[in-house]
C-alpha cells in the first residue's frame, strides 16, 4: 500500500466498463442507455491516462481528449435520434422498438 499501481486504474476501468455494459443491456430508457455508454467511454479514458502516465507519453492524454470530443459528438447525435424516435412513437422505450423481430 505505498505505490500507486497501474493495475488499480485498469481494474477500476474494467469495473466501470462492465457496469456500463450492464446499463446498455438492461435499461429500457434510451436516454439511460446513452448515459451507460458514457460510463464505458470513461472507463476507456481511465485506461488511456493510466498507460500514458505509466510510459510518460503524452499520447494517452491526447487520445483521452479526442475521446471526450467524440463522446460529445456521440451524445449530440444520439439524443437527436432519441428525440426523433420519441416524436414518431411517443415513447423512448427500447422494448417497443423491435422492427427487426423475426
Amino acid at each position: 500500500m505505498d505505490d500507486l499501481l497501474l493495475n488499480q486504474f485498469l481494474l477500476l476501468g474494467a469495473v466501470l466498463f462492465c457496469v456500463g455494459v450492464y446499463g446498455v443491456l438492461a435499461r429500457r430508457n434510451a436516454v439511460l442507455v446513452l448515459m451507460s455508454i458514457e460510463l464505458i467511454l470513461n472507463s476507456v479514458n481511465i485506461n488511456f491516462i493510466a498507460f500514458g502516465a505509466m510510459h510518460g507519453n503524452p499520447a494517452g492524454a491526447v487520445f483521452a481528449l479526442f475521446i471526450i470530443a467524440v463522446a460529445a459528438a456521440e451524445v449530440g447525435v444520439g439524443l437527436a435520434i432519441v428525440l426523433l424516435i420519441y416524436r414518431n412513437r411517443k415513447s423512448v422505450d427500447l422494448n417497443d422498438i423491435a422492427e427487426l423481430k423475426g
Partner: protein, 171 residues
C-alpha cells in the same frame, strides 16, 4: 504515497457506487445526477495521474455539457420525473450475467498480466517535457504530432452538429 492510495480507493469506491446507481436507479434524473458523481470521480482520478488538463476538460465537457444535454433529453422526451418502475428490463439478470462474465474475463487477464505490485506507476507520473508543465506537453503534441487527427476531430464535431440539427428539427 499512502495519501494517494487513500484518495484512489475513496474515489474508486465513489465511482463504482455511483456507476451502479446510474444503471439501477428507478429515477431518470437521479441517474443523471449519479452520472455527474461518476464523471467527477473519474476527473479526480485523472488529477491523481497528473493529467490535470484532461481532468479540467472532463469537468467542462462532460459535467458541463454532456450531462446537461442528457437532462435536456430527459425533459424533451417527457420521461416521467420521479420513480418509474419500468426503467429496467424484466430480463435484467441476463445483462447482469453477461457483465459479470465480462468482468471476470477482464479482471483475470489484467491480474494475470499486470499482477499486484508488479507494475507500479512511476513515482512522478508527470509527463512534462515542455516548461515543466503537463498541459504544455499535451498541447505541444496535439498541435504538433497529432495536428491532423485534431483537425479531423473538429470536422467530426461539425458533422455531428449538422447531423444533430438535421435529425432533430421539426418539419
Amino acid at each position: 504515497m499512502v495519501a494517494q492510495n487513500l484518495f484512489f480507493y475513496a474515489f474508486a469506491a465513489m465511482i463504482v457506487f455511483s456507476a451502479i446507481r446510474v444503471v439501477t436507479t428507478q429515477n431518470v434524473v437521479h441517474a443523471a445526477l449519479y452520472l455527474v458523481a461518476v464523471l467527477a470521480g473519474v476527473g479526480a482520478q485523472y488529477i491523481l495521474l497528473a493529467a490535470e488538463f484532461v481532468a479540467a476538460t472532463q469537468v467542462l465537457v462532460y459535467i458541463g455539457a454532456v450531462v446537461v444535454l442528457l437532462l435536456f433529453g430527459v425533459m424533451l422526451t417527457r420521461t416521467e420525473i420521479g420513480r418509474d418502475q419500468d426503467l429496467t428490463h424484466r430480463n435484467w439478470p441476463g445483462g447482469a450475467a453477461t457483465a459479470i462474465l465480462l468482468l471476470g474475463v477482464m479482471a483475470y487477464t489484467l491480474i494475470d498480466e499486470y499482477g499486484w505490485s508488479r507494475t507500479p506507476l512511476p513515482a512522478d507520473t508527470r509527463i512534462a517535457s515542455v516548461n515543466g508543465s503537463n498541459t504544455a506537453t499535451v498541447s505541444d503534441s496535439i498541435f504538433g504530432q497529432y495536428l491532423v487527427p485534431f483537425e479531423v476531430i473538429s470536422v467530426l464535431l461539425l458533422a455531428a452538429l449538422v447531423g444533430a440539427i438535421v435529425l432533430a428539427r421539426k418539419d
